[in-house]
Every structure is written in C-alpha cells, then in structure tokens.
Symmetry: C2
Subunit: 213 residues, 2 copies
C-alpha cells in the first residue's frame, strides 16, 4: 500500500493541530520557531489533502474526514475476485435435511444449487427455517422444491467491483451472491458458479481496510 509521504514538519504540524486545534498559523509558526511564510506551502498541502481544515477567523483544525474522493476511488477499485470465497454447491434433488447438514458442515449461510453444472437456484438459512416452521418433512422434500429459482438469483462476475456486490446484497436483501462465469452453449447462456461474495466477505474486507498496514 502507498503511504502518504508527509515531511517531518508536516507531521509536526498535524500533531500540534490535533493537540491545540483550532490554532492559527501565527501560533503554529511560533511553536515551530519558523516564519508564517515558511509554513504556507505545508499548510496548503495539508488543507488540500483534507487532513487539516482551515476555518476563517478560527484557525486550523484536524479533519477526521479526509480526502473522501480517494476513499471512494480506492473502494471502487477492489474487485470481486479479490475477496470472493469458495461456494458450497448441492444438486437440486438433494433432500432438505441433507442440504442443511451441508450448510452446517461447511459453516455457510447460503447453498447454491446447480443442475448439469450450471446455477439453477439458491437456498438460505431463512428458507430452511421457514420450511422447518411449516412442519414439512425435511427427509422427503428435495431442496429444488424450496429454493429461490433462476432467473430470480442476483449474481456478480469476478471482474465486477466488490462495491457492486455490496450494493446488490443490500438492494435485494440477501446474505450472499454467487459469482458466475457465463458459458454459451447452443446459443443459450448458462452460468457456472465459480465463487461467492457474502456480507461476511465484505465485513472481512472492512477489517482489512482498517488494519494498521
């Protein structure tokens, strides 16, 4: 990762403003034993990057919300392939009970369902719980009966932005999206399941973003 390359004096200015802000450029110059003119370029850089904020007639304060456009840019550039994890896939004739066992053994919240190697549906803890409440015999019903079926599955592709995946997760109120690869066969488009992105992946990414380098 790139670190912003501040000079020692700029670091000192930030420290002084954190401790004493709001503080005027006169007061800063005095504390650093330099002229105001000598500070001007440093203060220009620190305000331009959004690290400090200049309040007219008040002085400089430390801004806790720096360089928003950079964060925006940074986040938009992380791709699905950088955070996705292994999907857990079962066939659509798997019995509900066996599917739930799969869910627990793999410690995931959503199973993706395939038929002939292609995505046909998805089923979540919520779907299973609904079935359990209804008193359905889980040893008799195949997962294909209760799953959400294509084309009602929202998905992403490997080169999409994680940001897009997060947006779709929130918008469609799901926990997890399959990551797919498009396969054209007999002029029909099919989707191969190659990964998944869930709220867990996004939370893990958030922790990584906040880590001390």
């Amino acid at each position: 990762m790139n670190q912003i390359k501040l000079s020692i004096r700029q670091e000192e200015i930030i420290k002084l403003v954190k401790q004493n802000g709001p503080i005027t450029s006169e007061a800063l110059a005095q504390k650093l034993k330099v002229t105001r003119a000598a500070l001007r370029p440093d203060l220009a850089i620190l305000t331009m990057t959004g690290i400090l904020e200049a309040r007219p007639k008040v002085g400089y304060i430390y801004s806790k919300k720096p360089t928003y456009s950079l964060i925006y840019d940074y986040i938009r550039n992380i791709k699905v392939i950088d955070v996705m994890s292994e999907p857990v896939i079962v066939n659509e004739n798997t019995l509900v009970y066996d599917a739930i066992v799969h869910l627990f053994l793999n410690d995931v919240g959503t199973l993706f369902i395939q038929n002939n190697g292609y995505l046909v549906g998805a089923v979540s803890r919520k779907d299973f719980l609904k079935i359990a409440m209804g008193g359905t015999d889980m040893h008799k019903v195949p997962v294909g009966v209760i799953m959400t079926r294509m084309p009602n599955i929202v998905f992403v592709e490997k080169e999409d932005a994680v940001y897009l995946a997060a947006q779709r997760i929130m918008e469609h109120e799901v926990d997890s999206l399959p990551v797919i690869e498009r396969v054209f066969e007999n002029s029909k488009e099919n989707f191969k399941i190659v990964g998944k992105v869930s709220k867990t992946n996004i939370t893990r990414l958030f922790v990584k973003l906040g880590e001390n380098n």
Copy 2:
C-alpha cells in the same frame, strides 16, 4: 464530507495520466502547453497525496492505491453509534416458535434476550435451525433453553469504533453484536441492550463509503 480540493490543472494532469500513463513530465508539459517547471508543484502534490506514482525512468502513473493511512484513519474514526440499528429483543421465556415468528416479522438474523431489562443471551437463525433439525417441539421449549448465554455474548458500546465491532464479528464468527450500556446496581454490573451492529450494518456502511458523495 471533505473533498480533496484539486485545481483544474491538477484534475487535467490526472486525466492525462489515466489516459496515457506511464507518461513523463516532459510529455505532460507538452500536452498542457506549459513548461516543466510550471508543472513541478502540481506533480509534487499529486505524488505526495498518492494519487500519482512517479516511476524513475518510466514516468507518472495513476495509483489505484492512494493514501492508505488516510483510509485507515477514516475507517477507524467511524463509531458504532453512527451505524447501529434497532435491536429485536425478546424475553427468555418466549417460546422458540414465537421467537422465530419475531425473527421473521422483524426480518433480522439474531434476537437478543433480556431478563429484568438486562442482556442475558442471544439466539441466531443458526441456533433455531439446529433445534428444528433435532425435532424439538418448538411450541414447548422457551428460547432461554437454546440461547447462547452470558458471559459468552460478545458486545460493543456506542462509542466504540465500528472497526472494533467488525473485528469481533469476524473473530467470534457471529452475525450480529448487541450494543450495550453498562448499569451498576448493588455493586453488580448489568448490560442494557441499546442497539445492534451486524454484518448488514457493515455492508451498508461499505456501500456508503463507496458512494459518489
């Protein structure tokens, strides 16, 4: 939010580098019809902020990983209180069936359990599903029997960093944390449930961070 305040010429430089990078300062000066000396302060600012990267003997390139320390700072400064949502709380003698109904009606993944107004436990979709698989009569067993009980509940407080909440969610492999307030009574510490932070809140925050202002 603060926007980084770039001059029109700096914006033009970024655009040129995005399109033509790697590009030397000579080539940039030519395209902008100015001298290299005139560009020097702008290039200094753009590399210092991490927007551009200067590669010796190659030229300037657009950096997709800018100012990591700023992102770090920014993320660490968002507090639980800025993102938390309403907790869904039931009493520990609520029947499992009724608790699951609560879960669905409120569309949440975790219920927090209180007794005399204080946190005593938590129960998730996963816990409910386990019970359903076992064939337990959900109309007879109270939620207090199956919940995870204090002191095994991980929580956060309103003034904690969301980053800490995300860390705890990942570390303890839970979907949601209660946000608590400490109450001292008869020299005993109790916890009042005042909110919750879940993977959904973190994902929503991530979407917000990536939004175009």
